[in-house]
């Protein structure tokens, strides 16, 4: 049997790695992917707690998180495509002014 802390520590590590990727990477799509990694880490914590408490609320909430992440990814990638076409670059350092 795997103690629940192990899952939580793994979730913390993945969240931290996602945060590091968010800060370090320059490509806007990779930054977006690190957000998905952080959401996944949180999902793991939810499911681990759901098993620990024996209730299914955690798993139902994970379904909602997945749906929200999907909707966010769709709209976010649309915005990224438009911005990239305007600025001709996918580097976040070039998108730091409100004016083109």
């Amino acid at each position: 049997m795997v103690p629940t802390q192990y899952y939580l520590i793994l979730s913390a590590i993945l969240f931290g790695l996602g945060a590091v990727a968010f800060v370090v990477k320059r490509n806007v799509i990779t930054i977006f992917m690190s957000i998905e990694l952080m959401l996944n880490a949180v999902n793991l914590a939810f499911v681990a707690f759901s098993q620990a408490r024996g209730k299914l609320d955690g798993q139902v909430f994970v379904l909602f998180v997945i749906v929200v992440a999907a909707a966010e990814a769709a709209v976010g990638l649309g915005i990224i495509i438009l911005t990239a076409r305007n600025r001709r670059s996918l580097n976040v350092e070039r998108v730091d002014l409100l004016k083109l």
Partner: protein
């Protein structure tokens, strides 16, 4: 070491390697592939936790739809390898250690309060899909309807963003 623990360590190592590879790879398509590896190993961990429906949904929605969307966008925008830019000094020398400190703080907090996190009373329980669906449609019916509305809004947003300019 029980077999469950062994499987957990293998899947956890796979997930961490995937996440590290996301950071260390230069080309966004390789980062996307590493993220897919992370998601599939997380689905394996959900199976180990007895959440089979959530594991299947994770692969179908996250791995089969969201990541496909990411891969499409990377292909469409012809994203190349990352340019080598100089970090700001603060980010390079302060950022990474701080992020690692955040992780360490979270992990230490969990280990310190290990007593209050209950171990599962029934670790071999398998969550039945029917129980999840009953809960989804009785206790959580209001958020459920709201998420359908959210998806509709997202579809409309994506359509508006994809329109050509009317010039």
């Amino acid at each position: 070491m029980s077999p469950a623990l062994l499987v957990f360590f293998v899947l956890a190592a796979l997930a961490i390697i995937g996440a590290l590879s996301l950071i260390l790879q230069k080309h966004p398509i390789h980062s996307a592939l590493s993220l897919i590896v992370v998601m599939v190993s997380l689905a394996g961990l959900y199976l180990l936790l007895g959440a089979e429906f959530v594991a299947a949904v994770q692969i179908i929605v996250y791995g089969g739809a969201i990541m496909v969307l990411f891969v499409f966008v990377i292909m469409l925008l012809n994203a190349g390898e990352e340019e080598h830019t100089d970090f700001s000094k603060l980010a390079k020398f302060g950022g990474l250690p701080l992020a690692l400190a955040l992780t360490g703080l979270l992990a230490a907090a969990m280990v310190h309060h290990a007593g209050s996190v209950p171990n599962p009373t029934n670790p071999d329980a398998l969550a039945r899909t029917s129980s999840i669906s009953i809960m989804l449609f009785s206790t959580f019916v209001y958020p459920f309807e709201l998420t359908s509305f959210l998806i509709l809004v997202a579809i409309m947003g994506a359509l508006v963003l994809a329109q050509r300019e009317k010039s």
